[in-house]
């Protein structure tokens, strides 16, 4: 319980440090942008985030349903604090996004798929635009974000399913 309080405080810190992006994603008119084919830096980021967070939701629903004590991951919480400090000190937003991603991942048990899940967080990060521009791919294609998010969560989602646990 004490660990969970700690990890929720870390999540709050990560969200505070990355508040600009959180607000931008929340207020971004995704659906309108997709329909009108407008260029938007946060296009489909909300959808990608909604997909990306599914393993965590799945884990917590299962935990609550079976009345099991939640298992969390302290190393990811520590990583979230480190990234938050880096973001504050350097003003580089990418670190705050990594901090948010790590803080969310920390609320579920860690395994080898957690790193793939963390990589999939790029799907809702503005940094994807930069990476895709540098790689010469289409940065504003909402399907790129959705595909990346889906692909990255599948193993983790499977590992959190009750049949796997039992």
């Amino acid at each position: 319980m004490q660990t969970l309080v700690f990890q929720c405080t870390v999540l709050l810190l990560a969200l505070f440090v990355g508040k600009d992006t959180v607000l931008a994603i929340v207020s971004s008119p995704t659906i309108t942008s997709i329909i009108e084919k407008k260029h938007n830096f946060f296009i489909a980021a909300e959808i990608a985030f909604a997909i990306w967070i599914l393993p965590l939701l799945s884990y917590w629903i299962q935990t609550a349903k079976n009345r099991l004590p939640p298992i969390t991951s302290l190393p990811f919480s520590i990583a979230a604090i480190i990234f938050a400090c880096l973001s504050i000190g350097t003003s580089i937003r990418f670190f705050s996004h990594l901090s948010i991603a790590c803080a969310f991942i920390a609320l579920a048990p860690a395994n080898s798929f957690s790193f793939l899940w963390l990589f999939g967080a790029l799907s809702w990060m503005p940094a994807l635009v930069w990476f895709s521009t540098k790689m010469g791919t289409t940065p504003f294609d909402p399907f790129t974000r959705i595909f990346l998010a889906t692909l990255s969560i599948l193993p983790q989602l499977y590992s959190y399913t009750p049949s796997k646990k039992q």
């Binding site: 810190l13 302290l74 504050i88 003003s91």
Partner: protein, 196 residues
């Protein structure tokens, strides 16, 4: 968590929270004086200052900016300079900004100057093609890499501004997309642009 580990983690977390709350209050020297020193007219050029749009005011909140149209001999260019000291995140990699505006960067060539390197981006949007000059300037040092800019500004923030002057982002683009540009001549006639 055992008590010792627990205490250490909470101290670490509280330090991070205190840091996040206090960091925004610390101000480091900006590049406003360098931007103000850029002449609006000279022997070979004249300019017209443009107001910031509502969207620009929102994006560049807290930044010092120069947004002017310069006429250098017979070449008309749009010059945009941003000092992101108080809002570093408003200063993006120019190639990403242009991509966001619907342009594709089809070619990047480097132009060497005594203080460093400038990038000439060849942009394409439907049937229009245009060249744009982009660089980051610290006054006595010029570079075109956004990664260098991020590293230098990060170092400057960590060192409370002691690592050097704040880099500013400079973008020079032709006013008309079909205009043929002689960049070297433009920079020769308007050398102050490289001193920002």
């Amino acid at each position: 968590m055992n008590t010792k580990k627990n205490r250490f983690l909470w101290i670490f977390l509280l330090f991070a929270i205190a840091l996040s709350l206090s960091w925004e209050m610390i101000s480091i020297p900006d590049a406003k004086a360098r931007l103000d020193a850029l002449p609006s007219s000279g022997s070979f050029y004249s300019s017209q200052t443009l107001p910031l749009s509502k969207q620009e005011k929102q994006i560049f909140a807290g930044c010092h900016m120069v947004k002017r149209i310069y006429k250098v001999d017979n070449q008309k260019v749009f010059v945009s300079i941003v000092d992101g000291t108080k809002n570093r995140n408003a200063v993006h990699d120019p190639s990403v900004c242009f991509t966001g505006g619907g342009w594709s960067v089809v070619k990047t060539t480097s132009l060497s100057i005594p203080k460093g390197t400038i990038d000439i981006l060849t942009l394409k949007k439907e049937k229009n093609t245009q060249e744009v000059l982009v660089w980051f300037s610290e006054g006595d040092r010029i570079y075109s890499s956004a990664l260098t800019y991020w590293a230098r500004t990060a170092l400057r923030r960590i060192s409370y501004g002691k690592s050097g002057p704040e880099p500013v982002r400079v973008v020079v683009q032709p006013l008309f997309s079909k205009q043929r540009m002689d960049w070297e001549q433009l920079l020769q006639k308007f050398p102050e642009l490289l001193q920002v």
